[in-house]
C-alpha cells in the first residue's frame, strides 16, 4: 500500500489484485454504476470523444448552478428582469454563476448534437450481432434527450424577461397556435392565456426548473443503463466479431451482482458477447481516471468561457416594440429561417410558415431521426466503426442535412438585417429611425 497524506486521508484500503479492484467497483456506491472491467477501445478518446460524458457533466453543472440561481431569481413579470440584473451586478459572484450556467447550456447543445453525430457516423445505433441488447431504442432515447436539451435551452432564455425572452415567448406561443384545429388550445395550455403575462412566465419557470430536468435526469439514467445492457459502446461489438464470438452463450461478467451478495443467491450479470481478457482492463482506475479527466476538463473550459465571454441581457421586455432585427439564439436560428421562408399559397389556400417551418419540417426531421435505425439496412458488421464504406450513402445524406442546418444558422446569424432582409456580412445595414 502506498503511503502519503492523500492516500491516508482518502483511502482506507487499496486493491492489491485485479480481483480486489473488481470488488472495489462492485461494493462502492458510486462506482458500482460501472462494469468491473471495460474494453480498452471503449475508453479511447478517438472513438467517442467522450461526448456523452461531457454532456452529462454539463447537465450536472447546469443543475448545480441552476439550483443556486433559483435562490436569487424571482419568477414575476415585475421582478424577473431586475432580479437578473441583481444576479449580474449585486449578488456576490452572481455574474459568474449565471455565466457558467449560460455557457454550460450552450455547450450542452453543442455536445449533445456532436454526440448524436458521433453515434450516427459510427453506426452505433445498429443492432449488431455482437450486441446483446437493443441499441435502436437507445438511439431514440438519445434523440429525446436532444429535444429535451433544446427545450431546456428555450425555456431557460425566456426567464430573464428581456426583449429576447418576451418575443421568443410570443413567437413560440404562436407557432403552437398554428397547429390546425387544436392550436389555440395548445397555446392556451402553454402560456395560460392569450397574452404573455404572469401565467406564461410561471409555466416556463416550472418547466425549466422542475419538469424538464426531471425528465432529463430519468432519461439520462435510462440511457446509461441501456448502454450497459447493450454490452457497452458499439465499438466493443467489433472485438466480439473479430474473435468470431458474435452470438454466444451467456457468461457472467461480474463476480457479484447487487442481489448476488445476499447469502444463498447467485444472480450474475450476463452478456452474450465474449471478449478475451487481453482486450479488457479494470474500470478502476482506468475508466474512473478518464471520467475524472473529462469532468475536470469540461469544468475548466466552461469556467474559462464563463469568465471571458459576456452575456449581457437585452433591454427589458417591451410588448410595444420588437427589436429589429429580432433574432433567436444561434441554435434556433435555423428554425427561425425555416419559419420565415416556408409560407406558401396553393389552390387559393395559404399555409402559414409557422406551421410548415415551425411544426411540420422539424417533426419530419425528428421522425426521420427516430426511424433511421430501422431504415438502415447496411451490414451490421460495421457497427462501431467510423465512416465505413458500406454506409457512405447514409453518411452523405446525414452530412448534407447537418450542413443545411448549419447553413441556415449562418444565414440567420450573419446575413439577416433589419426586417429580416438579406444582407451579405460585408454590407452595411440601413440606419433605422429610433422610436423614443
Amino acid at each position: 500500500m502506498k503511503s502519503g497524506i492523500a492516500n491516508r486521508l482518502l483511502w482506507s484500503w487499496r486493491p492489491e489484485s485485479p480481483r480486489e479492484a473488481n470488488d472495489a467497483i462492485v461494493k462502492n456506491m458510486w462506482l458500482h454504476w460501472f462494469p468491473s472491467k471495460v474494453a480498452k477501445r471503449s475508453i479511447s478518446f478517438s472513438y467517442s470523444f467522450w461526448l456523452g460524458t461531457i454532456s452529462a457533466v454539463l447537465f450536472v453543472i447546469l443543475s448545480i448552478t441552476g439550483l443556486i440561481l433559483m435562490f436569487h431569481y424571482t419568477p414575476s413579470m415585475e421582478r424577473a428582469y431586475t432580479s437578473m440584473k441583481d444576479i449580474d451586478f449585486v449578488t456576490s459572484y452572481g455574474w459568474f454563476l449565471r455565466g457558467v450556467h449560460r455557457v454550460a447550456a450552450q455547450l450542452m447543445v453543442v455536445s449533445v448534437f456532436l454526440h448524436m453525430m458521433r453515434v450516427f457516423y459510427t453506426g452505433a445505433y445498429k443492432k449488431s450481432p455482437g450486441c446483446m441488447g437493443n441499441r435502436p431504442s437507445n438511439w431514440i432515447v438519445g434523440i429525446l434527450l436532444l429535444m429535451l436539451t433544446l427545450a431546456l435551452s428555450y425555456t431557460g432564455y425566456l426567464l430573464p424577461m428581456d426583449q429576447l425572452a418576451y418575443w421568443a415567448m410570443i413567437i413560440g406561443a404562436n407557432v403552437a397556435a398554428s397547429v390546425p384545429f387544436v392550436g389555440e388550445q395548445i397555446k392556451m395550455a402553454l402560456i395560460g392565456g392569450t397574452i404573455i403575462d404572469q401565467n406564461a412566465l410561471l409555466r416556463f419557470y416550472v418547466l425549466h426548473c422542475f419538469l424538464l430536468p426531471i425528465f432529463m435526469f430519468l432519461l439520462m439514467a435510462y440511457h446509461m443503463w441501456r448502454i450497459r445492457k447493450d454490452g457497452g459502446l458499439a465499438c466493443v461489438d467489433q472485438i466480439s466479431l473479430r474473435h468470431g464470438n458474435g452470438v454466444a452463450s451467456p457468461v457472467s461478467t461480474k463476480t457479484y451482482s447487487l442481489l448476488g451478495i445476499t447469502s444463498g443467491m447467485d444472480i450474475r450479470a450476463q452478456t452474450l458477447s465474449q471478449i478475451e481478457e487481453k482486450d479488457l482492463i479494470p474500470s478502476s482506475p482506468n475508466l474512473v481516471r478518464r471520467i475524472w479527466l473529462v469532468s475536470l476538463g469540461t469544468m475548466v473550459i466552461t469556467i474559462l468561457l464563463a469568465i471571458y465571454i459576456q452575456f449581457p441581457l437585452e433591454a427589458p421586455a417591451d410588448p410595444t416594440m420588437a427589436p429589429n432585427p429580432a433574432k433567436a439564439p444561434w441554435y434556433f436560428l435555423w428554425l427561425q429561417e425555416l419559419i420565415a421562408d416556408t409560407t406558401f399559397t396553393i389552390l387559393g389556400m395559404t399555409v402559414n410558415g409557422a406551421f410548415l417551418g415551425g411544426i411540420v419540417v422539424p417533426s419530419i426531421l425528428l421522425a426521420l431521426l427516430i426511424v433511421v435505425p430501422y431504415l438502415d439496412r447496411t451490414p451490421t458488421s460495421n457497427c462501431g466503426v467510423w465512416f465505413p464504406r458500406e454506409r457512405l450513402t447514409q453518411n452523405i445524406i446525414f452530412t448534407v442535412m447537418v450542413l443545411l442546418v448549419i447553413t441556415l444558422i449562418c444565414v440567420g446569424a450573419f446575413c439577416r438585417g433589419p426586417s429580416w432582409v438579406f444582407y451579405w456580412p460585408w454590407e452595411q445595414w440601413p440606419v433605422l429611425p429610433v422610436n423614443f
Binding site: I170, A322, N324, A340, T342, W420
Partner: protein
C-alpha cells in the same frame, strides 16, 4: 386445486384488470392535468377599449402601443388596423417611403406614403394592411370602431374584425 382455479379469477386476469384500471386512472388524471392548464377565466385587458375623443387624433396615423393598434384619420373618416403581424405575432412597424409609391389594390391604383414591416421575419403589408411579401399568411385585421354613447370617446372592439374599407364618420 384445479377446482379452485376454475372458480376464482386467475392471477393473470386479475393483473390485467388492475393494470387496465390503472392505465385508465392515469390517463384520466393526465387529461385532468392538461385540461386544468387551459384557463376558464382570463384576467386580461378588455378587448373593447376607449381610446379618446375623436379630436385628439391628428390627421394621418397614430400608434397606440398600449393597445397594439394603429389609428388612422383621413379628414372625418377613422379606421384602425392591428399592429400584430399575422405570421407569428410580432409588432409591425410603419416604414415611411422617401417618395410616394403607386400600388395596385385590385384594379385600383393608389398612391401610398408608407407600408407596414414586421421586424421578426420580414413580412410587408400595404397601407391598407394587405400582405404582399414575406411569410404573413393573411392581412392585418381592421377592428370595429364606434362612438361611445356616454362620453363621445372612440371605442375600438379588438374582438370584432371589419372590412378594410369600413370607416367611422366623426365630426372633427
Amino acid at each position: 386445486m384445479t377446482e379452485e382455479k376454475t372458480k376464482g379469477v386467475s392471477r393473470r386476469r386479475l393483473f390485467k384488470w388492475v393494470g387496465g384500471a390503472s392505465l385508465i386512472a392515469i390517463g384520466g388524471q393526465a387529461f385532468f392535468f392538461l385540461r386544468s392548464c387551459i384557463p376558464n377565466v382570463l384576467y386580461e385587458p378588455m378587448k373593447r377599449i376607449k381610446i379618446g375623443l375623436p379630436n385628439i387624433f391628428p390627421q394621418g396615423h397614430k400608434f397606440l402601443s398600449a393597445f397594439r393598434i394603429f389609428v388612422f384619420k383621413e379628414e372625418k373618416d377613422m379606421h384602425t388596423i392591428s399592429c400584430v403581424c399575422t405570421h407569428l405575432g410580432c409588432n409591425v412597424q410603419i416604414s415611411e417611403f422617401s417618395q410616394p409609391r403607386k400600388v395596385k389594390h385590385g384594379d385600383v391604383e393608389v398612391e401610398e406614403t408608407f407600408e407596414f414591416v414586421c421586424p421578426c421575419h420580414g413580412s410587408r403589408f400595404r397601407a391598407d394592411g394587405t400582405h404582399y411579401t414575406g411569410p404573413a399568411p393573411t392581412p392585418l385585421p381592421h377592428y370595429k370602431m364606434e362612438i361611445a354613447q356616454d362620453d363621445g370617446q372612440v371605442v375600438v372592439d379588438k374582438g370584432e374584425e371589419v372590412d378594410k374599407n369600413a370607416r367611422l364618420k366623426v365630426e372633427a
